[in-house]
């Protein structure tokens, strides 16, 4: 069975979702969802180990060899991504706060878990497929389940947030479809490897250029790259907090992967950066995102919205790494995928605990909670420190590589700007610390039960562990970066 792992890791959650509708009973469905997430995580770690020792794995669905059939292809980059996505799922799904802030009555909760599993399956599908049209199909599975999950937030604004996301997401998805169509029309293939073989002689074609543009814009909408980010703050703010934790930690990572795959594997860095000079477009956008996101975060009165704006800034860091197109820069961007998933997932879970106890996610809700809920608040502080990039936390590691990458390019001003934008993060994180530890206690609450704070601490603890012990994260990221830069692995 083990050679089928790369198919099973997607198929298992995909088929586990309908099982939720048959089980129906909330407690059973909840346990089932967690078991599936854990199984996926074990598969992902196995696959990563196998890819790192034995090279890329190709699996042809239906036994039809590519380009005839759909190929699932895992290399150092996807396997790394699978580990991120499944690990976050395995931590978030069993959390005691998973249902906090949802508007679902008892008889419908199994639908919520089905949507979570579908979202997971979609993300895993995008991450591991080697077929461009198959990407579109799984993008739509992810998107439709995310719209549903977001709309289940408690406030009625969750509905409008989900609708705006639906409109933006569908436009993005249709742009992807257009881009795929343009490339298909001049090459006759949908397989990524095959496209990479056939495109080099067609790079002068205006059809290929337009196709590239649509893929990039479609992917950027999904990733919420500044200035296409408007849907993100509302969606993350209104979604149930555990959903925000899951989506913020995984969905943007997968979209980022998609862009990297298009740029490096399908088109090749030489075309994108040497011929098109795309970095002169990406670099300002990344810098603008870093500053605009951080600035906006400073003025937010809602914890989830604050974290959402900080996400936009963090996406900026990742895109910055992409635009460097060097090993250090890409390593920084890719390792930041992992680190940001840990810290944002942990922070949103901490907010979920706050919502569980106080019923509110406003910044004022945590006033004085440093004494009432010390475990949760300590996690929030460490997560915040990691967002800033304090040495010893995971956030420092990614920023270190980004600064090194910038210096290698001779972009000294960019390196300075990275440090400056981190200073803004200090402002909004310090504000939280001040309110939590020096504010008046307005809510008379106690700490959340262990099954709620433990998931938070697993992720936040991860940011500490991977802040010091970087073998796995940086090692995996740099081999992924080399695989990308080396063209087809």
């Amino acid at each position: 069975m083990s050679e089928h792992l790369s198919a099973l890791i997607v198929v298992l959650p995909l088929l586990a979702a309908p099982v939720c509708l048959l089980l129906r009973h909330t407690a059973m469905v909840r346990a089932w969802t967690s078991i599936v997430a854990w199984a996926c995580m074990i598969m992902a770690w196995t696959l990563l180990e196998r890819v790192q020792t034995g090279g890329a794995i190709s699996y042809s669905m239906g036994g039809w060899d590519p380009p005839l059939g759909i190929e699932y292809r895992l290399d150092a980059l996807n396997a790394y991504l699978l580990v991120i996505v499944t690990t976050i799922a395995a931590v978030v799904f069993p959390s005691g706060t998973i249902l906090t802030g949802t508007a679902l009555p008892e008889g419908k909760r199994h639908l919520y878990f089905a949507a979570l599993l579908l979202c997971l399956a979609g993300l895993l599908g995008i991450s591991s497929t080697g077929d461009l049209f198959n990407v579109f199909v799984f993008v739509e599975i992810t998107s439709l389940s995310s719209y549903t999950l977001i709309s289940l937030g408690k406030d009625r604004r969750a509905l409008t947030a989900a609708f705006s996301y639906l409109v933006m997401g569908t436009i993005g998805g249709t742009f992807l479809l257009l881009g795929i169509g343009f490339l298909y029309q001049v090459t006759g293939t949908l397989n990524m490897q095959d496209l990479a073989l056939r495109l080099p002689e067609l790079l002068e074609s205006r059809t290929v250029l337009a196709g590239f543009a649509f893929l990039m814009v479609g992917g950027s909408i999904k990733l919420a790259v500044f200035p296409l980010h408007q849907w993100l703050p509302n969606a993350y703010t209104q979604a149930p907090p555990a959903v925000s934790a899951f989506i913020a930690a995984t969905a943007t990572k997968v979209s980022y992967y998609l862009l990297a795959r298009v740029i490096f594997t399908i088109f090749g860095a030489a075309f994108v950066f040497d011929a098109l000079h795309l970095h002169w477009l990406m670099l300002p956008m990344a810098l603008a995102a870093m500053f605009a996101g951080s600035f906006a975060a400073v003025f937010q009165t809602d914890l989830k919205r604050l974290l959402a704006y900080s996400s936009i800034a963090q996406i900026g860091y990742m895109v910055l790494g992409l635009s460097m197109a060097s090993e250090a820069g890409l390593t920084g961007g890719i390792v930041h995928l992992f680190n940001h998933a840990l810290m944002k997932g942990g922070l949103f879970l901490a907010v979920a605990s706050v919502v569980m106890r106080t019923g509110s996610s406003s910044v004022n809700a945590i006033s004085g909670l440093g004494r009432k809920m010390p475990i949760t608040m300590a996690a929030m502080v460490i997560g915040g420190l990691s967002l800033i990039g304090v040495p010893g936390t995971a956030g420092f590691v990614s920023k270190w590589y980004l600064v090194v990458g910038a210096l290698e390019h001779g972009w000294y001003s960019v390196a300075v700007l990275i440090l400056l934008s981190s200073l803004i993060a200090v402002v909004y994180v310090w504000r939280l610390v001040e309110i939590a530890f020096f504010g008046e206690a307005t809510h008379d609450v106690c700490e959340v039960p262990w099954n709620s704070w433990l998931p938070t601490w697993i992720l936040i603890g991860g940011t500490l562990v991977f802040g010091l012990w970087t073998d796995v994260t940086v090692g995996g990221a740099s081999s992924a970066a080399r695989a990308l830069l080396g063209g087809t692995p």
Binding site: M1, V11, L22
Partner: protein, 148 residues
Amino acid sequence: MSSKPPMRMREKVLLRVASRVFIPLILLFALYVQFHGDFGPGGGFQAGVIFAAGFVLFGLIFGLETLQQVVPWSIVERSVALGLLIFGGVGVACLLRGGRFLDYGVLDHHSSMHGQHLGILIIELGVGLTVAATMLAIFYAMAGRERT
């Protein structure tokens, strides 16, 4: 959708009689599309849509309550799940018989062509079931709401 003004009795009788003829025809056509998809245009998806249309028509004429007696909600919800499971189950069966996921050829060890036919037939059934049930579920969900 359900809270339409009641029709006059005679119109309703006419509709009911006409629907007695048409609804079985629609369902029959759906079955034809389902199983003839290998030869002409059509397949599970189109058949599912038509199948659901037949039931929706029934529900519009005889009322949501009557339709729910014919096709109870629990069956609809389970069918939505079951269709996808049938499709995936075929894939898993291929794995168990030593092939790749969805490699129907291994379903029949004597003739891979026959195995392919069998596989396509079953997965189309799965598609049809999920599509028909989902469309019906959406109708139930919408028709059960009242205008605010």
